[in-house]
């Protein structure tokens, strides 16, 4: 699914959170979005998920068509937000239930998918019995069960420790290549942004704007060694400069 954002801005009272954002994402593309805290990344995400209306003048088109966005993109918030009274499978089935899909077929699909998500044997476990990485995989699986071509992932690995996080990154790439969805992924971590993406988009401090749009032409499949490769480091330096400049602005402001 092709996503076109043009001239999208948002004011909250007198605060200008987002200022004329233009961004196009091609079908099947993996785009990461980085920027200082409070730059309006989450505001943009909430608008793409249809939870928030953009101010007049902006437009968000999915496959060239406008219209209500609620329920048309698969949105994954920062925290896993698993329901403690539902087991792993029932948590993953939540969006299908709300959509009103037939239970038996969704269930069969979820059971198959659980294998890919490393949750086999844990289907009947409750969230509070799982580790942080596993909970995040359940939340991600829930997002995949909501079969939408565009996935919005808001810092899904932000709360994980560094080791778990790098494992989850490689695993996500694996899943992505298998299921081929379009992904827009927010992160604070430059390494993560480069490692995962086809394109890294850097946002400016408030009011949020697109500051840099950098294609990442590193070969796939990618592995952990990539992080120390010279071409990786060169991109990282370039992006760090851009992010640093913005962070300094927000620090002195």
């Amino acid at each position: 699914m092709k996503l076109s954002i043009s001239g999208v801005g948002k004011n909250f009272g007198a605060v200008r959170a987002l200022d004329r954002v233009d961004l196009d994402i091609a079908p099947g593309e993996f785009v990461t979005l980085i920027g200082p805290s409070g730059c309006g990344k989450s505001t943009l995400f909430n608008m793409l998920a249809g939870l928030l209306e953009p101010d007049a003048g902006g437009s968000i088109l999915l496959d060239g068509k406008a219209g209500a966005l609620l329920g048309r993109t698969a949105f994954m918030p920062q925290r896993d937000l698993l329901l403690p009274w539902r087991n792993v499978l029932d948590n993953a089935l939540l969006p299908c239930e709300i959509e009103g899909l037939p239970r038996a077929s969704s269930r069969a699909r979820a059971e198959k998918m659980a294998v890919d998500f490393g949750l086999r044997g844990f289907e009947k476990h409750y969230p509070q019995q799982l580790s942080g990485g596993m909970r995040q995989r359940v939340a991600l699986m829930r997002t995949f069960m909501f079969e939408r071509d565009l996935m919005l992932l808001d810092e899904p690995f932000g709360a994980l420790d560094a080791l778990t996080r790098s494992m989850m990154q490689r695993w996500l790439l694996d899943i992505w290549e298998r299921y081929r969805r379009t992904i827009l992924f927010i992160t604070h971590d430059i390494d993560e942004a480069i490692f995962l993406a086809d394109r890294v988009v850097v946002m400016s401090t408030r009011p949020g704007r697109i500051k840099l749009d950098r294609p990442i032409e590193l070969p796939r499949p990618r592995d952990a060694h990539l992080l120390t490769a010279p071409e990786f480091t060169a991109i990282k330096r370039e992006l760090l400069d851009a992010v640093e400049e913005e962070s300094l602005k927000s620090f002195s402001a």
Binding site: N46, A49, G50, L51, L70, G71, T73, A74, F75, P77, Q78, R79, L81, L83, P84, W85, L94, P95, E97, I98, E99, Y126, Q128, F146
Partner: protein
Amino acid sequence: MSRGVVLRGLLGAALLIGGWELCVWAFSLPQWILPPPSGILATTWSARAALLPAAAMTAYEALSGYAIGAALGIALAMILALATPLRALLLPMVVAVNSVPVAAYAPLALLWFGTGALSKIIMVAFIVGFTVFLNALDGLTRVDPAAVSLLRSFGAGRLRVLWVLRLPSALPAIATGLRISTVRAMIVTLVTEMLGSQLGLGWTIFQAVLLIDFLQVWAAILVASIISLVFFGVVSAIERRVVFWR
């Protein structure tokens, strides 16, 4: 809970009852100050023919009022959880009515509904209803807004959010309300019975006080406490089963 803590608790209870019994004998305390536990038990047994029907009546009033109040409280909370403007108007008034001590409403209930079981059942339903309502509404409205957003992004409407998210999230709070309400139901039944009734443990206590029959007062309190403990225990056990994720 470790075994040591349980043992110490039992030891404490044993010391209390044993010390009580011993004090009564050692200082030969008159009954009106403190009857011995053995005497209370003996009276409870010998007066069982009178205490049993009174206990049955009290339990009947407390349980019926409890069931009615709990159902009304939860239903009202669900309606107000959906109707936000109505809630802002009604909630402060509900809190104001609720801040009047229960005991003050009891004479009114007796005047309106007579000295039979009805006045007690209505009083209990009133108090339990308030307690459950306030707890349930708190649970229903104190839901993570991010979780609501997530469900909305899946295309869920208000009713669906209520059913899938709000109600299960509120279960711990509702269960707490239901648990506290067991004791309140018993208290209100006894207090209202004291004011006027034909049968019931509260009435037994009131009569015994007027007749200065101390053992009878203690015996009635003992029976009321046992009913209350069982009631509380059953509701707590159900709570643990239903709210398993806490």
